[in-house]
């Protein structure tokens, strides 16, 4: 078992000052720059005209009445429900009553949709370019040597990734090159960015990746490609279904208040 004894490599302490800290500082600074660049590059949300806003808000009103129907007494709920259902069926709030039968707006031509897509693409670009640049810089200047020892062991398969410049067979996987320090920083600096830049900062790569995996969340109800008339009719049906059971929340409130005391 003597081969298992830990391999010691003596290193110049100046290694740390010239390699570890500069990589970390550069990554923090580029993260901050990237965040501000993203914030500045995003175009202002466009002012929508009255009819478009009215259409969106009324659909939301239908959804709200449906989900909070217990909070209001039965007669009020009924009155709201019948008027909303009649209006939705009539198409009273449509932005463009002529386009009832036509297919949904193409995201390429609809200006509101175009904006959303451009913003997403700008965000992606702002994320990818600094990462590529920094990786290239590290590979150019800091390759060919191992710089530090990981406190925990890893399997052999990681050797090729973490010891990128050094081609030895027997060196422990725990000795890694500076590229792995870059990866450690990539994941570990997210919390530092959370502290410096506040939440929802644009330097957070993981949150952006998770957003990309939920495409339904971003476009929302009013993204391009949805037909407003169909949504109104669907909402009218939902309202009619809900109206069957109504359990006013204030029934039995007297017992609940007395129970508190």
């Amino acid at each position: 078992m003597t081969e298992e004894a830990s391999q010691m490599i003596l290193r110049d302490p100046q290694l740390f000052y010239w390699i570890l800290f500069p990589i970390t500082i550069v990554m923090i600074v580029t993260g901050v720059l990237r965040h501000y660049a993203t914030v500045l590059m995003q175009s202002d949300p466009q002012r929508q005209d009255l009819k478009a806003i009215r259409e969106q808000r009324n659909l939301l009103r239908g959804v709200n009445v449906r989900s909070n129907h217990d909070q209001i007494p039965y007669q009020s709920f009924n009155a709201r429900k019948t008027s909303l259902v009649a209006e939705f069926k009539r198409g009273a709030y449509l932005k463009d009553p002529d386009s009832v039968g036509k297919p949904a707006a193409n995201p390429m031509t609809d200006p509101a949709g175009m904006d959303q897509m451009m913003n997403m693409m700008k965000g992606n670009m702002a994320m990818i370019i600094p990462q590529t640049l920094i990786m290239g810089w590290i590979n150019a200047f800091f390759s060919g040597f191992v710089i530090m020892k990981l406190p925990f062991p890893l399997t052999i398969r990681f050797k090729s990734m973490l010891q990128s410049g050094v081609a030895t067979r027997d060196l422990d996987v725990r000795w890694v090159s500076s590229l792995s320090w870059y990866f450690l920083n990539l994941f570990g600096l997210r919390s530092v960015f959370n502290f410096i830049l506040g939440n929802d900062n644009s330097a957070d790569q993981m949150a952006a990746q998770m957003q990309q995996m939920n495409p339904a969340g971003g476009a929302g109800m009013f993204g391009p490609g949805q037909d407003p008339n169909k949504m109104f009719l669907a909402e009218a049906e939902n309202l009619e279904v809900v109206g069957g059971q109504h359990d006013w929340i204030l029934h039995g409130v007297e017992t609940r208040v007395l129970d508190l005391y």
């Binding site: 530090m148 020892k149 990981l150 450690l184 997210r190 919390s191 959370n194 502290f195 929340i249």
Partner: protein
């Protein structure tokens, strides 16, 4: 049906839930960095280091329970376990722990 009614009477407001989770996450990422520095100074190796991280997060959870949540986790979180397990293994706190641990381990051992 009964659950829905209970939710209607005591609604779960998503903004408040998000705020609470964010506070827990912030506290955890900061304390796991400090935990990493401590692990590096002590010179802990593989398993000992991770055990130290778990012990540290349990300790931080207890502190959060008594100092921040006033001993009543039910008031702030949906289930009793949430205070102890949110973000313990989530990427941001484990990553900061490992980052600080590696950095200080190397600095101290030279």
């Amino acid at each position: 049906m009964l659950d829905e009614r209970k939710l209607a009477i005591d609604p779960v407001v998503p903004e408040n839930v998000a705020h609470n989770t964010r506070i827990v996450t912030d506290i955890r990422s900061l304390t796991s960095s400090v935990c990493g520095i401590a692990a590096g100074i002590l010179g802990l190796e593989s398993y000992a280091g991770f055990v130290f991280y778990l012990v540290g997060s349990v300790f931080v959870s207890m502190l959060m329970l008594f100092l921040v949540a006033d001993g009543k986790p039910g008031k702030y979180f949906q289930s009793g376990i949430d205070l102890w397990t949110t973000e313990v293994f989530g990427t941001s706190s484990v990553a900061s722990f490992v980052l600080m641990w590696t950095l200080v381990y190397n600095l101290v051992r030279a």
